[in-house]
């Protein structure tokens, strides 16, 4: 009886692979943008170029890869088939076109409700609603009771809240529907998006994949359960108080502490998994993922910095927030995606070419589909880029930021070559 086999539930290669291809192109373009706009990082943090880079990274790179990877991982995590592959394709099309309009709107530097914002924002929201619906329907048909599933389902809810808040912020700027400062909405939009959508999803998937790849059996799932309650409580408080004009400061502090402890519990879970791993030697995918998790620990520390404020460090306004955002998006998310690409993409390509040939002919291993050397090169350039970015921001040195941006562009190019090698793999029969 062959029940529960995720290969039987695996989505088509045509659903997953375009996400990796478009995601990689977005990473390349965002990194190229950063080379020409690196000075903006030292300036006022809500410039059009910074917003376009952030949205290209968040929607075009991080979300795109997460969508594709999740379609592939739903059968692994929930042991069910993706609810609808057609919906996944429509989601992809809507996200790509919407992103195009949204980036054009941000590059226009106009913080008004322009047509590009309306079209782009609506298409992105449509894509996200479809994605959340597809994930939810898949999750509901699963009998799995793991904490991973609950994190993934909650992340879908926060994703919807994030885009609705983003759209509401822009509408409120033009029509002043609620007498609350737009910066409050922006803050909640960013926190719900980054912590509620991305982190909850990443925690849900990592909780399943890290022990699986590192061969660990007894994990401290209680840490994740408590983390789930604390992060949700913190996020719900933040969301609720956004609509109140005068909020006592201690409410902010409580929500911050709840989320902070939840994130520390996730880090402790991963530390425990890494400490008890049977597979002591890490492959390149897991090395990059481990670097991503270290970046996450640094991000969590930098969150404390945002509480004390920029003046405590002698920084100009907005600097510590830029450092936090950079550590989270460029450091944690990008590091984890770079690593997990090597644990997901080659599998689906390998299964596509070799599944029917195993045993009949000598076939390559999954790791033979990409260059380990190239991956090692971009691991070093990635770390160098993050170190340079942080140094450039802490000491306000423009030229260091330029080197950092060039190193990240180099990373995206070398990573892109490896993705190209995997996607356009030529069948090898030994």
């Amino acid at each position: 009886m062959q029940v529960g086999l995720s290969t039987k539930n695996a989505p088509s290669v045509w659903v997953v692979v375009p996400h990796f291809l478009i995601g990689t192109v977005s990473f390349l373009v965002a990194s190229l943008f950063a080379i020409f706009n690196y000075q903006d990082l030292l300036g006022y943090h809500i410039s059009g170029s910074v917003l376009s880079i952030v949205h290209l990274m968040i929607l075009g790179w991080v979300s795109m890869i997460i969508f594709g990877a999740l379609y592939q991982l739903i059968p692994v995590v929930m042991q069910v088939k993706l609810y609808s592959e057609k919906l996944a394709i429509i989601t992809l099309g809507s996200l790509v076109v919407g992103l195009f309009f949204l980036i054009a709107a941000f590059l226009g530097y106009k913080f008004q409700l322009t047509n590009n914002f309306i079209v782009g924002g609506s298409l992105v929201i449509f894509a996200i609603i479809l994605f959340a619906f597809n994930t939810f329907k898949s999750a509901l048909s699963s009998n799995e009771k793991s904490i991973s599933k609950f994190y993934i389902m909650a992340s879908g809810v926060y994703l919807l809240l994030t885009v609705l808040l983003g759209l509401f912020t822009v509408i409120n700027l033009s029509y002043n529907l609620l007498p609350v400062a737009h910066t409050e909405f922006m803050k909640t939009h960013a926190v719900i998006g980054l912590v509620g959508w991305f982190l909850m999803l990443v925690i849900g998937v990592a909780a399943k994949l890290m022990p699986m790849f590192l061969i660990v059996h007894r994990t401290r799932e209680a840490l994740l359960k408590w983390g789930f309650y604390l992060i949700n409580a913190g996020l719900l408080i933040i969301f609720a108080v956004t609509f109140i004009k005068q909020v006592p400061e201690f409410i902010d502090v409580i929500s911050f502490i709840l989320i902070f402890i939840g994130l520390v519990l996730f880090l402790l879970f991963n530390y425990d998994v890494f400490s008890h791993r049977m597979r002591r030697k890490l492959d390149i995918g897991m090395k990059l993922s481990a670097i991503g998790l270290i970046m996450f620990a640094l991000t969590t520390l930098s969150f404390i910095g945002t509480y004390f404020g920029n003046s405590a460090f002698g920084f100009p306004a907005g600097r510590i927030e830029i450092i936090s955002g950079l550590l989270l998006i460029y450091g944690f998310f990008t590091g984890l995606i770079l690593g997990q690409t090597y644990k997901t993409l080659p599998f689906i390509i390998w299964l596509f070419y070799y599944q029917k040939l195993v045993g009949k002919q000598k076939v390559p291993l999954v790791a033979d589909l990409y260059s380990d050397k190239l991956a090692t090169v971009h691991m070093y350039s990635f770390v160098a880029s993050i170190v340079l970015f942080i140094a450039g921001l802490v000491f306000s040195i423009e030229i260091v930021l330029l080197f950092a941006a060039v190193a990240m562009f180099f990373t995206s190019m070398v990573y892109g070559i490896n993705v190209y090698k995997m996607i356009f793999h030529k069948k090898i029969i030994k």
Partner: protein, 106 residues
């Protein structure tokens, strides 16, 4: 290996199954402890294998099963090969052999 009292012929089957790797970790499934039982009946011409996976969501599960089926059918063309996926007892890393551990970290 959790199976006890195996015949010489069944031990040979275990050796044949060492040709089948887990494509992710590149260690053979026998040393990973994924084979729970091999029953070779030369009179009835049947060959039954119980295999498990490290996790129910294993992304390469049915590829491994298909590989076992093909390798055994090629090696024992006279026998009817039946590969059964089982979940009891639940696999754990203690089932990996010393050779498997060494290979895993080579």
């Amino acid at each position: 290996m959790i199976q006890e009292n195996i015949t010489e012929e069944e031990a040979k089957v275990y050796e044949v199954l060492k040709q089948v790797p887990d494509p992710e970790v590149a260690v053979n499934i026998v040393d990973l402890g994924l084979i729970y039982k091999v029953l070779k009946n030369d009179k009835a011409k049947t060959l039954d294998v119980d295999v498990t996976l490290s996790t129910p969501g294993c992304p390469v599960g049915d590829t491994i099963i298909q590989h076992i089926q093909t390798v055994l059918e090629n090696t024992y063309p006279e026998h009817a090969v039946l590969v059964d996926l089982v979940w009891e007892p639940q696999w754990n890393p203690d089932m990996i052999s010393d050779d498997g551990r060494a290979e895993l970290n080579a």
